[in-house]
Symmetry: none
Subunit: 191 residues, 4 copies
Amino acid sequence: MSTSTNKRDDIIHSALTLFAERGFDATTIPMIATDAKVGAGTIYRYFDNKEVLVNTLFQHYVTLFSDTLEKNYPEEDSIYQKFHHLFQGMVRFTNEHDHALYFIKTHASAYFLTADSREQFSHLLMILQNFFDEGKKKKQIRKLPSQALIAIMFGGFLQLYQLIRAGEIEASEDLLVGVEESFWDAVRHHQ
Amino acid sequence: MSTSTNKRDDIIHSALTLFAERGFDATTIPMIATDAKVGAGTIYRYFDNKEVLVNTLFQHYVTLFSDTLEKNYPEEDSIYQKFHHLFQGMVRFTNEHDHALYFIKTHASAYFLTADSREQFSHLLMILQNFFDEGKKKKQIRKLPSQALIAIMFGGFLQLYQLIRAGEIEASEDLLVGVEESFWDAVRHHQ
Amino acid sequence: MSTSTNKRDDIIHSALTLFAERGFDATTIPMIATDAKVGAGTIYRYFDNKEVLVNTLFQHYVTLFSDTLEKNYPEEDSIYQKFHHLFQGMVRFTNEHDHALYFIKTHASAYFLTADSREQFSHLLMILQNFFDEGKKKKQIRKLPSQALIAIMFGGFLQLYQLIRAGEIEASEDLLVGVEESFWDAVRHHQ
Amino acid sequence: MSTSTNKRDDIIHSALTLFAERGFDATTIPMIATDAKVGAGTIYRYFDNKEVLVNTLFQHYVTLFSDTLEKNYPEEDSIYQKFHHLFQGMVRFTNEHDHALYFIKTHASAYFLTADSREQFSHLLMILQNFFDEGKKKKQIRKLPSQALIAIMFGGFLQLYQLIRAGEIEASEDLLVGVEESFWDAVRHHQ
DNA sequence: CATGAATGAGCTTTCATTCAT
DNA sequence: AATGAATGAAAGCTCATTCAT
């Protein structure tokens, strides 16, 4: 019957938004506290310090994203089917967790990430890398280093997503179909 | 007679490197001063404050990049020729100004950018936008919002460039040819 | 029917130990609560605040110590008998209330003591002062200000007691006899 | 021609006074800054943090005290001569460095002392221990553990000194002569 | 011009205290 | 009566900025 949500979740949500919008260093604990409508001290009941907070957040969303990509992965289907699955995963994750993917990207090489966080992120990259490696072996993906292909897709997608969030373009069904096609053409092997 | 280069340039160079590597907020004035081998106070002889410094830097490199793209723009040639010119411009600019493009991207939506800086950045986008608009009119570029096409290319390229700087992949001639092809396939109109 | 001892006593006991070991300012309320196995809020049911707690403690043990010294004081006996009584009182009190005397000494001139606490402490000093005054009048105690004699004995004894608690020397019967002799020689009138 | 003293010394002096009067934990950096008439940040130009400050202070005065005791130590003279030298050293050091000895004693077993600091303090104790050990061997010092004898003398002297500083008794020549006699009787071997 | 010691505003963090349960 | 989650005031500390040299 209570309308109040869980405080820990409020903090996580506020921190995610602010870290994504301003970056870790430009986000202060008082900012997060105000946004989450809790006292500054309360944040320290849930997280030992600011770096633990950002790492917890990072690992949480990286894991969630990895899970999204791995769930129902069409192991037996065509490369294109797999590509489609991954792309749709990106779109869905992005819709369900507003700032999460952008937060992940902008903080993925930050100086304050722990070994744990880096490892989780490596796992995420590995999922994508495996896909591209398989595709290249089957001569259906362009002969470029998998890391490069990931960068092209990830980098492009997130840059695009920022535009959508900024309201500069609309995330219509048409747009997403077109973008998926564009990325597929960017990475697929052309005769 | 002095062998030392211009102090203002030293400061700009150090600031660019550090802002690109650590971000604006994680970079302190003493860090820049130490790296540039000048006193901290000296920075304030050339720049009113830290925000002026970062905006000066931003505008400087955005302008330089715009100039690179506009110079010798093949106004009369094919869309592909123009694409090739723009891509080569990105590559060349990136080689000549080590951290500049990455700095531009990571700071392009920062909270501390002045109207001036945002305008300069808009101009840069406009160059690319004009190209895509023209290409779409001539049915040689994919029917997607130009902003989306820019995001895909810019975002992808810079993500890729980060890998190169991090030493994770090598910027061979082959790679660049392959990447150019990939981007061209991403943006061109397919029958 | 409960096996647990009185909560107020638990708090007093834990506070005494921690104040003696770490000092008032380095001891936090949560530390005391944890050690006493009560909630932090419970401490405030028994004591208005931390300063009230430390003053209550101080007065409690100062009074207890005064009582120990006054009880069975050999009013009619020789100065040496009285000295012996006082010294034995110190030893006994120290054995019965582990950290109490050390806590008293280290907090006897603290900035947070109330007038009440200071008065109680004065009473304790008065007991000793009366003894020394009488002894000097009877020419059996060294001609030094009584306060000085108290300082010498109290200061020395507690410093010694710290060593015993730290386990650096053992509180054997021999040691105590020797120490009593030493103090007696320090304060008695020599021909 | 300047009347201003060295800022580092001002900080050290203020810190010594406050640490001695209130203790480490009850002394705040702003208190020290105010007392030393410097900005709070200035303290951090000279000392990395509060613990470094207190350890620097501790080692400085322990070394100074050790030097005072060791200088002109009458290696060839009688035990009593040596005792006199040590006692006079304590008196002189105490007069020259107002709060130093009290600060040393009250912080000598603090939780924040570094290994270095503890070592320096051990060296100081060793000087006294060697004296007592030699005296006992020559049967001129009471048969008690040297540590106990040190505690009696040190503890008593400092407790006394506090009275003097508090203005409760006056440090007349007579007093000091009497106190020296008292301590000598406390520690010397009696037939 | 150039410097870096000095500053204090504002950061991260702790902890005495309150209060809903 | 007892609790411990929540709070915010104030601590330790950093760093953009100033200014005497």
